[in-house]
Amino acid sequence: MALLEVSDLKVSFVTRMGTNRAVDGISFTVDTGKITAIIGESGSGKSVACYSLLGLIPQPPGSIDGGTALFNGKDLLKASEAQLREIRGRDIAMIFQDPMTCLNPYMTVGKQLVEPLCFHKQVSKEQAKQRALELLEEVGIREPESTFDCFPHQFSGGMRQRVMIAMALINEPKLLIADEPTTALDVTIQAQILKLIGELQSKRDIGVIFISHDLAVVADIADQIVVMQEGKIVEGGDSEHIFHHAEHPYTQKLLSAIPADSKAPMPGKQEPLVQVSDLCTWFSDTKTREPVKAVNGVSFDINRGEVLGLVGESGSGKSTIGRSILRLVPVTSGEVSFDGTQVTALEGRVLKDMRRRMQIIFQDPFASLNPRMTVYDTLAEPLLLHGLENRKSVAAGVLKLMDDVGLARSFVRKYPHEFSGGQRQRIAIGRALATRPEFIVADEPVSALDVTIQAQILELMKNLTSQLGTALMIITHNFGIIARYADRLNVMYAGKIRESGNAEQVYLRPRHPYTVGLLNSVPRLDRPATERLDPIEGEIPDPGNLPSGCAFKPRCRWATVECELTEPVLEQVEGRQMVACFESKSVSDSVGIVLQ
């Protein structure tokens, strides 16, 4: 039975540059008891479409130009503001992408939670609180009573999102609109929330619209899928059809971005270029004065010309390692050597020469370019600084770099804000390559980019570095993508490496409980359709407050008493795979059975 029937919806915005037809005539339905996913990249109009259903887009400059949206027989688009207000929060509820900014930081969780209930229905404060506590427990919050009186900033992202879900469901709405609810969360937490949404939905038999830019994320929970591009629907159908028989080229492009296999291992030359031993980088928390152990005893090598993937979630220390190696943050203890020379103690001229040989590419392409320098300025700077070109030849050098990274030469005098995200990242890559470095650290190089662009940029990086023989260390939280491009993988958790080995081995035969959990949380297509997500329980530890023994123990299914008392160390197991776990044998046995 159709809960929501949208026909020919048209929404536009008036901007400085003219009228933008954000939603250009789309039609879809949502059935009771089913999850409909709307997939599209930024600018596709997916969010605008759903916000306009509830009248949540600002009407100047936006305007609803046409179409109908029948909900329970009533056309939402023609409803008055008063009627819409009745529906919002009571019959149709929304949850949003970033739970940090979507909860009022100045109000307690409890107060915000009971608000929709008290407003729409006449209940007493005690009854409302009771109901709220029930819901908090239902969404998996362990201490509902104390949570009720706390403020949002005291919780992690995952918990805040659970609160938002509770807040949305408190009036038992018939339709839930979820706008990218897991995009801002770590992979393992994302898996938890996805599972939660799936369970709550089937328990209440409500309809759900799940908006996302990532087709893989909805693979396990969507019944219907609608793919949008530039305001129009390019393909729609039930998920079985979309995932296996997609027809539209855009859909196919989105599908190809999903990891379905990993590549064959490179017959690696084992020539270490960068050697990290026992690296510790600790910060001191300005408020509590406790040490924040971001990197807590890490040792590994990076070989010449290889691509090493460093995988982890927030708090794992992966970004800090990259910055530590490049001397962008001070190292607390341990050593880093580059081509035989100790990097940690260098100064002055020698340090400058060393810097020429190691470069970095950052996550946010906008923040990593000086907004007041043109492409020419940005690319010429390293060339001139290290004497690779002189005043006369530098222009030609710059143009050649632009060719290498695939940027049209005519853009050379433009400023960063005049480019798209992908183009800016190309400029950043050009800058990193300018000095022909032997080693490049790429810190989440594609996380800020659209899914279809991600593959392009990673391909570009891979090709360029293999041409030059440059070693590449890619830091990422996206296990799926990296397995395709890396030769070897290091998996980090709470400041230490937990597992290390050839990419294919780690991906197909993980031996550490965390790696197993991470892989289970990554939305994949090669998993049998009947097997639902199996998320790891619990929260990611705070590097300022680590548990004793193995830091993963509180969340581990295989944990024993020993795990709490002593810390496991990285040990070689099979081939060149290394694991830090006492139970790795039983882990890999049970995993091996499942993955056969």
Binding site: E86, F96, C102
Partner: protein, 310 residues
């Protein structure tokens, strides 16, 4: 919470000490003493007066004995009004100035706050431009200009309100309060507008709307809490400004308050009066700043937690 308060209080003490010391020595350095005044005084009489007021002692000793007096709460005798102590004079002028300041602050908060909030709800429309232009006038027209102008219009041409005095004729407190409060009303209007605009563009406002709340509830229940923080933080500096602004307003409207005494004392080189009033006013300002900082920090739960309210 108390750690924060006591920490700040401790910080305030050296500040006050610096104020006292600096003022003391500054005043002493001025050319001309309190008795090099209008009438020619015979040397012996002058010497006797100076001995009486301990001006013949070395400066450092004067300083120490002054500190001693202060510790006892004694600001010393006035040089210019023999027989009256500074304490008395302060006690006489303070209530007047305090009342004026309070009314002005009320004017500033209520009018400014309302104007700013209203303007922020419909930015770049008439609802925004009108109050904000009025606010601009308040900022650009200093009190010593606005006061006389208001006097001219309402006191003389229209003859609606009295032109001087305080508490003598009904309604004589209106013009001074408005004059003093208007530029602060203007600043508060701008601050509250900026604060509200910032808050209204936050995601959690959209969440509140998505819950079905009517717009006025969205504003009062959700937006005001965060939007008003900059105003609260401004209260400290506003108080300091009001106090100094009272100098001018009291002069224009002939109000017998502390500000006017201060100006007169400055001209008359009445050492103890200058010192006493400076120290007293400065201490008040420092304390008020502390209060407004604490209040602003308290309003922000993230900062509140810092002080162990978990």
């Amino acid at each position: 919470m108390w750690r924060f308060v006591s920490y700040r209080l401790l910080q305030a003490i050296p500040v006050i000490l610096v104020v006292i010391t600096a003022t003391f020595f500054l005043v002493r350095m001025a050319p001309g003493g309190p008795f090099d005044g209008e009438k020619a005084v015979m040397p012996e009489v002058k010497a006797a007066l100076e001995a009486q007021y301990r001006l013949d002692l070395p400066v450092s000793q004067q300083y120490l004995s002054y500190l001693g007096d202060l510790a006892r709460g004694d600001f010393g005798p006035s040089f210019k009004y023999p027989g009256r102590s500074v304490n008395e004079l302060i006690a006489a002028g303070l209530p007047v100035t305090a009342e004026l300041g309070l009314y002005a602050l009320l004017v500033a908060l209520v009018i400014g706050g309302l104007a700013g909030v209203i303007a922020s709800l419909k930015p770049n429309t008439a609802q925004d431009y009108l109050p904000m232009s009025a606010a601009m006038i308040g900022i650009c027209m200093p009190s010593f200009l606005l006061g006389p102008m208001l006097l001219l219009v309402f006191g003389i041409y229209l003859d609606w309100l009295p032109v001087s005095g305080w508490g003598d004729t009904p309604g004589d407190k209106i013009l001074p309060a408005i004059t003093l409060g208007s530029s602060y009303a203007a600043y508060i209007a701008r601050l509250s507008r900026a604060g509200m605009l910032e808050v209204m563009s936050q995601d959690y406002i959209r969440t509140a709307r998505a819950k079905g709340l009517p717009e006025w509830q969205v504003v009062t229940r959700h937006a005001l809490r965060g939007g008003m923080i900059p105003v609260v933080a401004f209260l400290g500096p506003a108080f300091a400004g009001l106090l100094s602004g009272s100098f001018v307003v009291e002069t224009i409207f002939q109000i017998p308050g502390l500000g006017r005494f201060y100006v007169q004392a400055a001209f008359n080189r009445d050492y103890t009066m200058i010192l006493g009033t400076t120290v007293f006013l400065s201490t008040l300002i420092v304390l008020f700043n502390l209060l407004s900082d604490i209040l602003a920090a308290w309003m922000n739960p993230r900062l509140r937690a810092q002080f162990g309210d978990n």
